[in-house]
Symmetry: C2
C-alpha cells in the first residue's frame, strides 16, 4: 500500500490541528464557521466504506470526540457532519459548528460565501481551544 | 422516554423503503438523485452524538449496508453521506448517489434544483432494487 499524503487542496484550505490514531485533524481556514476537517491517514480512500469495518467504528469514535469538543468550544446550535468528496476525492469528513443566522443558515455551508481566512490570533485561539477540548474527550 | 414518530416533513418528502433494527429507511421522493434517508427510531434525537456509543456503531453498520446497496444498485460515481438537520431537527442521515454531471454536481444536492417526484413505476422499481440489495448486504 502506498503511503498516505494529505491532498494538496485540503492542505491549502486548512490549518493543522491535531493527530488522532486514525485521522489527521485540520481547521478549515474560514472564519465564517468553526469547521473541522478529519482525514483518515490511509492511502487510496474515497468512500467511508473503503475503510475496514473496524476503522469505520474507530472513525465514528473520533467523529464523536471532535463533535463533542466542537460543541463544547463553540456552543453551536447544530452540528453538521458530512462526507461528500465530489471535488476532492481523498476521503475527508467535515464537522461544522452551525449557528442560527450564520452566513449559510439554514442551508449547507459549501459554496455559499467565499472563505475568509482567520487572522493569526483568532486561528490560533480556536486551535488551542479545540486541542484542549479534544484532549478532555479522549 | 416518549415514543418515536417520524417528522411529518421527512415523511412528506419521502417514500417508505425498509425497517432496519435502528433506522427506518425512506427513499427521498426526488427522481433527480437516488437518495436514501435513514432515521434512527428513537425519540428526541437531533445530533449523531445524542445516540449511545453502541447505537453510534450500529448506525455506522447500517450506513455501510445502505451505502453498499446504493452503490451496487446505481453504479454511482460518488456517495455523499451527511447528517445536517438545520431545517428538520429530527436526526436523519442522507445517503445520496452522485453522478458526474448530475443536476448539482459537483456541489451538494440540497437546495439546488426543486425535487421532482418519481412516477409510480420508477419509484417502485428503485424501492424493489434497494430492498433486494440491502437484504444481500445484511
Amino acid at each position: 500500500m502506498s503511503q498516505f499524503t494529505l491532498d494538496p487542496q485540503l492542505g491549502a484550505d486548512s490549518l493543522p490541528l491535531l493527530e488522532l490514531d486514525l485521522c489527521t485533524l485540520r481547521v478549515m481556514n474560514d472564519a465564517t464557521y468553526p469547521w473541522i476537517l478529519m482525514v483518515p491517514k490511509q492511502a487510496g480512500l474515497a468512500e467511508l466504506i473503503d475503510l475496514s469495518i473496524e476503522d469505520q467504528h474507530r472513525l465514528t469514535d473520533e467523529i464523536r470526540v471532535v463533535s463533542k469538543a466542537l460543541q463544547a468550544v463553540t456552543k453551536c446550535d447544530k452540528l453538521n457532519v458530512a462526507a461528500l468528496g465530489n471535488m476532492v476525492r481523498q476521503l475527508h469528513i467535515h464537522v461544522i459548528a452551525r449557528f442560527e443566522g450564520d452566513a449559510a443558515w439554514p442551508g449547507p455551508v459549501w459554496g455559499k460565501v467565499p472563505a475568509v481566512a482567520y487572522d493569526e490570533m483568532d486561528g490560533n485561539a480556536l486551535i488551542a481551544d479545540m486541542k484542549r477540548a479534544i484532549m478532555a474527550e479522549l
